[in-house]
Symmetry: C2
């Protein structure tokens, strides 16, 4: 008999009435009396479990009854429709075969565990309600992202992970090497001879796929990347990880407002898709992780996102009367407290801040007519702060070349990036979305370590 998934039992309940079914799964709870017992069985296909009723007509009744939780079993039985009961159906087992008997010291006993503790057993935590919900939503959101861009005809680009250049011109990067750190080859100056390394030079882990994406946008018009990026920053906060995934769309012939429209549509699309595809998980988050989550997301889904210039935002902050920890002054970057004040208190919905001072933004952002600001935007969302950062790119070869020189960047690294302006350059714009930030936004989880399967942070690369 072909096995059924518990998801199908819930989604297509009617079609199973009075049928025999076979399924497999793991025991979440088990209790028994002398002659019958109940198993709450979960097979990972669905957030909810199914109740298995078994009795001493099973020849292995006693063995089953004493199975530790998390043991895996194969069940054959009758599907019993119970529309009046709390659970709409249950399975009356005719055969239960033991697949794997768990050990009695299984760490996930039926009690509350702290998220901190669960991080130490990251290989087991997806079996808990919270993490099963988080990682299913993560998967659904990733699919929504691909689906959104595919429907719009965007080409998905796998930008390189190992890179010889530093996109931001400022990031702290991880070195990638095949050299033996205990037998480093030296050059004439007594320094490490990078020419002996695998790629013949120093290479690092990418901090962004943007420059590659720009190259492809000038061939395919609409492209996006979705891949891992890295920061070797020693910041032990709830919002930073050394390894995280980014989505970076890049659009030729687009100006800043065009990609703001795109970003708004994308965020709404993903919210809508996740609410539709994972209602059980989202209800769970709303009840147990962040009260009001669904209201917050529905608000973002239906509202027109706000739009305000940086200069106006500074004025709003100055006259707010709030006692901020960090100073508010034109020319200084916005801190999370400022960002959250703007979207949570002033706008009470997601808001784009645009046209930041050129000094606090990256070299590739397009200089505005005022010569003081660049065509950049950050999308600020309640509960998170910055979710997206984007800009129109500097397409004027001479302006870009001057900027690279002015910042003392290594011009040789950017020969090809400059050539994109020389050969068929055009207006183009794009943005980056930190995928983990989005998952935190969608689930209400507050620590980035709890939305990544196996997080990498300073001092931690376990599993």
């Amino acid at each position: 008999m072909k096995q059924v998934l518990i998801k199908d039992l819930y989604r297509n309940t009617e079609s199973f009435i009075d049928k025999k079914v076979e399924l497999s799964g793991w025991i979440r709870t088990i209790r028994d009396s002398k002659t019958f017992g109940f198993i709450e069985l979960n097979d990972g296909s669905f957030f909810k479990s199914v109740q298995i009723v078994f009795d001493d007509k099973l020849e292995n009744y006693k063995d089953i009854a004493k199975l530790p939780i998390s043991s895996s079993v194969k069940v054959e039985g009758d599907f019993i429709h119970t529309p009046q009961a709390k659970q709409p159906f249950e399975i009356k087992a005719t055969v239960i075969a033991i697949e794997g008997t768990s050990n009695v010291d299984y760490p996930l006993q039926k009690k509350r565990h702290t998220f901190e503790y669960l991080r130490t057993i990251a290989h087991l935590r997806p079996r808990t309600n919270t993490f099963s919900a988080v990682f299913r939503v993560r998967s659904i959101a990733a699919y929504a992202m691909h689906k959104f861009f595919n429907e719009k005809g965007f080409v998905y680009v796998h930008s390189p992970i190992i890179t010889g250049s530093d996109t931001e011109g400022a990031g702290e990067m991880f070195r990638v090497t095949s050299l033996d750190l205990n037998k480093l080859p030296k050059n004439e100056e007594g320094k490490t001879d990078d020419t002996k390394d695998f790629f013949g030079k120093e290479t690092n882990l990418t901090v962004s796929g943007q420059l590659s994406a720009e190259s492809f946008a000038l061939a395919f018009r609409n492209v996006y990347t979705f891949g891992p990026t890295f920061r070797a920053e020693n910041s032990n906060t709830a919002r930073h990880a050394a390894e995280f995934w980014m989505i970076e769309p890049e659009v030729a012939f687009a100006e800043l407002p065009d990609i703001m429209d795109l970003a708004e549509e994308m965020v709404k699309y993903v919210i809508g898709y996740v609410l539709e595809q994972a209602p059980e998980e989202m209800d769970f988050f709303n009840s147990f992780v962040e009260k009001g989550l669904l209201d917050r997301l529905n608000n973002a889904y239906t509202a027109d996102f706000g739009r305000v210039t940086y200069t106006e935002a500074i004025e709003l902050l100055k006259k707010s009367g709030e006692n901020f920890a960090y100073p508010v002054e034109w020319g200084l970057d916005l801190q999370t407290e400022h960002e959250r004040y703007l979207c949570e208190k002033v706008y009470q919905k997601p808001v784009f801040v645009t046209d930041y001072p050129k000094e606090i933004k990256a070299f590739y952002m397009r200089l505005n007519e005022d010569d003081k600001t660049v065509a950049a935007t950050d999308l600020l969302v309640p509960g998170i702060g910055e979710l997206i950062g984007g800009s129109q790119r500097e397409e004027r070869e001479e302006v870009l070349a001057a900027k690279i020189k002015e910042l003392g960047m290594n011009e040789e690294d950017y020969w090809w990036y400059l050539e994109l302006r020389k050969y068929g350059g055009t207006k183009h714009s794009g943005y980056g979305l930190g995928f983990e930030r989005l998952i935190m936004y969608l689930t209400g989880m507050t620590n980035i370590r709890d939305v990544i399967p196996f997080p990498r942070t300073p001092g931690n690369a376990d599993f």
Copy 2:
């Protein structure tokens, strides 16, 4: 006026008849007489270009007429339906605005370039017919993959890129470090003090997400990874890259034949999807890259894949009468020449070889009853050889622990992997597909450097 994409003009031609349109793109070719001219304009949304007709009624006629190829323009004009002509429509321009004037030394002049040369301008090559087709097919195949697994309810897992362990127990790995290679901290033994590194220990780039995927399969039942993997192997062949993307599904409660069925269904799904979504590109490959490509793919799409044991395959090879460069002997691994003989000459279609000698396969593969072979499979396909490698995993804790010990692997690294067997372990199986191999299979391209946007190989991490 909202801009239209050239893809829409081709796919929904009827709806544009007698309409005014606005579009942007890059000039592929341009020719003119004194009073009128033709531009072949491509906007990246579609494999084909559109013909723009312009004449000296344009006030900037002379400027337009002398634009170098690859210049970008915005065109407004009338859509002229020409069903009798070679091209089913053209645009009669009323306005042409210059977006970006290209330089006359644009490297992609209208002549054939070698793939070797085009690798040196990887930032421009997606603008050529061949690479526009390759990278669009790559994008479509990636989407097909996500769509396939999504439809089957698989959870997409982002397995970690930076890792403290070595899945295969044998790979040559890249070291990841935040230490300054010119100021390495030393421990008491005078060696590099890895505890001072970012993660407090030595870390490397992953060679596979499988172990992580197993952890998640034992929570979600059906999962897959799709992410970059790395090999620091110094092999300069047409089939190896230091950085490539892998798809690794992992299925709980599945035995070897189950995942062979899954792999066969997946390969057919992707072939079908690409043929349907990229007919122009696939025709191009069939005409200009590999004659017979479409026959080969249609054959794979319709045939039942062959299935043969390694032991039988060795017999077939021995009695083949072929003069192989490498020896054929039970216990030796199959070489590409053997693999291709089996699928191209014997079966003339994709074939799964199963049950390899345990000595030549990885530690995690399940030992068969015969104590000599493991429940492993490779899928061999014409033109490529090995496309997929998979196995049933060793779920018996004591057998697995003994194997890890026997191979002298670092047991401490695998505590959590062993715990997956201790707590609710169950039969499970999975496989890995090298995504670039699949793209080579789908396009007929023969060098892996030509199916990766910016390839990383020994001595090369340009762009």
